[in-house]
């Protein structure tokens, strides 16, 4: 699993990247009450806002950690947004993206680097 400085995570399986927000991000947001995930077929660029997550207080954009084509948005989050709090780095994934270039992930942080980044905040 790799992480961005915007607190998204990516898990690459072949050329399919599952993406979501980190536990740190979910904890910071607090109670998630609404999630808008992208539909299959949508093309996203690395750094684009591709989803929205809302707490009681505010809406936040979620940025794509990789470029590619969305093959699935997590429909569970439409009816059970609290899954993002319960299991942010597992069942609370946002989308699966067919990546255009698996090398994109090289620039991201691994768990140890991300933990060090969080400690520096």
């Amino acid at each position: 699993m790799h992480f961005t400085k915007d607190h998204e995570w990516v898990r690459l399986d072949g050329d399919v990247a599952t993406v979501g927000i980190s536990k740190h991000a979910a904890d910071q947001l607090g109670d998630v009450v609404f999630v808008e995930t992208p539909e299959a077929g949508k093309t996203v660029g690395k750094g684009d806002s591709f989803a929205v997550v809302e707490s009681v207080k505010a809406a936040s954009d979620v940025y794509a950690p990789v470029s590619g084509e969305v093959i699935e948005g997590n429909v569970v989050l439409a009816t059970a947004p609290e899954t993002v709090n319960a299991d942010p780095e597992g069942e609370g994934w946002f989308a699966k993206i067919k990546v255009s270039d698996a090398g994109q992930i090289d620039g991201l942080m691994d768990r140890a680097a991300y933990d060090a980044f969080l400690a520096s905040l």
């Binding site: 607090g30 109670d31 009450v33 808008e36 929205v52 809302e54 009681v56 207080k57 505010a58």
Partner: protein, 371 residues
């Protein structure tokens, strides 16, 4: 990390000790949540929540002309207000716009005790300093903290500390010794629940806060839940749902216009307000049930079913009690009737909404049976 530009309340260390997440609000470093907004919201609706609202402004307006001078700028009748009672009112500019909303009462025999919003207090106090004339004197009580306890168990909790508080009805107020110190207490609040607001000397605030928290029925509640609770109660937040451009008629706050004052038409902005009462305002604050999609928040456009933008959401979000999204906003009166189908535009998407009555969640104030 504390933002150095923010002021702190005397309870700041207590919030941090409780693990609060702090944010800037109204110029103060305040707790937005402790365990979580939803849990705190529900706890307040079911038990009792304790709120630090010391960032709000407290003052006394005293002297022989205090009431007459105060009344020049508010539409409520404070001459007839009985001792031991308080009343919600609006500080108005010359155009009838709402400079601030406030609570003013007669807890003792020395003029009015007034509580105003944190973000407006400097402006309010400056306004009164400039405009109160004759023998009316403003005294800012910046040596006091303000603590609110709200929820269905608030009365039982407080009766344990001072039995006389159980005898208060909604909007009763008094100056009395509580926790061994000189307090102003009113049975009121900003959540739609029964409860009290307690003004306590700053030096004793942390002791009083911790003493009330010792009761297992009481939990500390942050500003996040305070906002969702007041939204459900249909209560406007100044600077968002009402502001110096909105009148009491537009703001759906005509209950704050006393009959005697309307007849006398002797307060700031009376001409506009009476005209709007007679002819109708150009816009009015409404409640909306957002029936699909994302929460509609401040700034979201409101459209009619033909897609014409007719207004704006001024606050909104999920209602934890109702389990759906609610909002307040302004539309022309032609679109304000209960049951009117409208749209709210969130991130470019139109979602179905319906005008519904406020409060969204029934208020549960403690009203004493008439003797």
């Amino acid at each position: 990390m504390t933002d150095d530009t923010l002021k702190t309340t005397v309870l700041n260390a207590a919030h941090r000790a409780l693990g609060a997440r702090m944010v800037g609000f109204g110029g103060y470093d305040m707790p937005v949540q402790y365990e979580g907004v939803l849990a705190e919201h529900r706890w307040t609706r079911e038990h009792a929540g304790l709120f630090d609202v010391s960032h709000m402004g407290q003052c006394k307006i005293t002297g022989a002309d205090a009431i007459a001078q105060f009344q020049r700028f508010v539409p409520g009748d404070y001459q007839v207000l009985k001792s031991g009672r308080q009343k919600y009112s609006l500080l108005l500019n010359e155009d009838g716009g709402i400079i601030d909303d406030l609570m003013a009462g007669k807890p003792d025999h020395d003029g009015l005790f007034v509580v105003v919003n944190a973000g407006n207090k400097d402006e309010d106090f400056a306004f009164w300093s400039e405009h109160l004339s004759g023998d009316a004197k403003l005294t800012v009580l910046d040596d006091r903290a303000l603590i609110a306890i709200q929820g269905p168990e608030a009365a039982e909790v407080m009766a344990k500390h001072e039995p006389v508080l159980a005898e208060f009805g909604f909007m009763d107020c008094a100056r009395l010794m509580l926790f061994g110190v000189d307090c102003y207490v009113s049975r009121s609040g900003y959540t739609g629940e029964d409860g009290y607001e307690i003004s306590v000397p700053a030096a004793d605030a942390e002791r009083v806060w911790n003493t009330i928290l010792e009761d297992a029925r009481v939990k500390p509640i942050g500003l996040g839940a305070r906002d969702s609770l007041r939204l459900e109660a249909g209560l406007p937040l100044h600077g968002h749902d009402i502001d110096p451009t909105t009148s009491p008629v537009e703001g759906a706050l005509t209950f704050a216009l006393s009959k005697s004052r309307k007849e006398a038409a002797d307060f700031n902005g009376a001409a506009r307000i009476l005209k709007e009462l007679a002819e109708g305002p150009s816009r009015v604050r409404i409640g909306l049930s957002v029936k699909e999609g994302a929460p509609a928040r401040e700034g979201a456009e409101i459209a009619d079913l033909d897609g014409n933008v007719i207004g704006t959401v001024t606050s909104g979000g999920p209602s934890p009690t109702l389990g759906r999204n609610i909002a307040m906003g302004y539309v022309p009166p032609a679109h304000a009737a209960l049951g009117t189908e409208l749209k709210v535009i969130v991130r470019g998407k139109a979602a179905a909404a319906e005008v519904i009555d406020m409060p969204f969640v029934a208020q549960r104030y403690f009203r004493k049976p008439k003797a």
